[in-house]
Symmetry: C2
Subunit: 314 residues, 2 copies
Amino acid sequence: MSQGAPPPLSIGLTVAIVALANETPLILARGAGAAPPALPFGPFNPLQHRTFEIGLRAFVAAQVGVSLGYAEQLYTFGDRGRHSRPGDPDPHVVSVGYLALTRPDEAHVLASGGFRPWYDFFPWEDWRDGRPALIDQVILPALRDPARRSHPQFAERVNRLFGHGPDLAQDEAALERYELLYEAGLVEEAARDQRDNALSDALRPALGRSMQFDHRRILATAIGRLRAKLKYRPVIFDLMPDNFTLTALQRTVEAIAGRRLHKQNFRRLVFGADIVEDTGLLETSTGGRPAALYRFARRDGEARATSGLRVGWH
Amino acid sequence: MSQGAPPPLSIGLTVAIVALANETPLILARGAGAAPPALPFGPFNPLQHRTFEIGLRAFVAAQVGVSLGYAEQLYTFGDRGRHSRPGDPDPHVVSVGYLALTRPDEAHVLASGGFRPWYDFFPWEDWRDGRPALIDQVILPALRDPARRSHPQFAERVNRLFGHGPDLAQDEAALERYELLYEAGLVEEAARDQRDNALSDALRPALGRSMQFDHRRILATAIGRLRAKLKYRPVIFDLMPDNFTLTALQRTVEAIAGRRLHKQNFRRLVFGADIVEDTGLLETSTGGRPAALYRFARRDGEARATSGLRVGWH
DNA sequence: TCAAAAGTGTTATCCTTACACCCATGT
DNA sequence: ACATGGGTGTAAGGATAACACTTTTGA
């Protein structure tokens, strides 16, 4: 069923490495000077590494100096033109995107720079202090401009993804929100990729920091995937230290999900999922009543499923 | 951050094309004689096609003669050795897997052969007639054999994925179930790939038909993804004719999900989701009382979200 | 008149939401 | 004493699960 040899291509790995500090999700992205930052990427060499993931861990350890915990493939980006710049020829690089998590133990790395708050790139995704003013003041007026309603269903998507209500309805839809803004020409990358250029050059700088190539799209994919994964796999613990208070756990979930959760409901959820165990230790440095320290209940043996935290509205 | 040019590779597209006939999910897979069948695959040529999906539709139309409806990228498989056969050199083919759906209008294609029931490859995934006997008679005894408990958490995975209860708990976990069987050496592909060979050569033929390369893994990914997607996107209608009865819709969901649903609850779900509209027509050929014919409510305009069918237990 | 399939009303139960309140520590 | 954050009891509301029943056709 195959016919004719395909032309040779090169395959790269691009990775969104997430860490957490100060209740802020951080992403490793480097950029020289004023140029837009880029995610770490490296070539994949099948002669050296048997699988993508092995290759990924090797190049990240070697070039970035971070050891990865959880890692998961996101998507493979193969659009022609994704690495082209005006003038340059297109190198036909296909890129396999990965999400990876790293522990806050790596404080030296955090200090060394390169980690930036991911909400710098997606200011409309952080609803922890309520619905971002940006949405009502900039995004919705622009998206509701009739001139942009190119596709049918555009208005439906706008309402579903940015619609009213003080709470973030669909935290997982980060990629869809970014793509909507891209299609509407509201993010820098859309102008750079020569999409409709006329409208709203003035608005774009407000809509988050841009990145090289399609890296912001990869990051949006990573955010959405991580937010979804939290709900059915205990990946959150790959961002936590060994011992933690329940409030710290809640703040971490909130930071990733971009929204506030209800205290008792969260606790009931955690205990109901049987996912942590009491260490007997107390943390006194939080101010107020000392908090109990818990650890992740790994349950290697026969015990119940290690599901995630099916967080609801609040 | 990149260093040294990666070696040239070739990229292929492999696609699981799903159709539905007679309340049976079908997958396009061809095999000569007694050889294990293979999914359609073709080279990706970035000079001809701007994106993977365009390339996919082109090669499927040209070589297979099916026009695809919905299509979605699944995963990129890059393990060394996945295309190697004993003796042959390894051609280093990286393969991007896709899921695609096609309408039953394509009756000529169904008749032309090549479509096989997907449960031929995954007999343990069809719980519509209750818990498959295969699980308790063959799979669980083998998996609970202490000799196989290589990894920690093995027993926990066995319980979670094949555990007791008359109902299929996690229909979406098709890939995890396949991988568990693979790791335990219970499927043909495990023996072929030279994993632990000693045990249970006699059991394997009972555990579903095998496929070429890693195509059964790709198919397991496709099944799990489609089952998950049903619940939050209305993709089911890409497998339905324009007009259909509610029972036909329910049977289709059941066929994909591999489990039975409760009639009234299903109907309430459908009407509650506001996802179909009455055509006013009746279908009399079903025997018994004539059934109302519905169509998918496309709602291009302002209306509500087009979500999926959040089916519960029954 | 009966079989077969479509279609419905209603209740018991559990989960989610969110109110309000109490507890233990440092200053 | 009081501010601060940790920790809990409990009731209202809504979604889900499942019971059993009625309706409309063809044979």
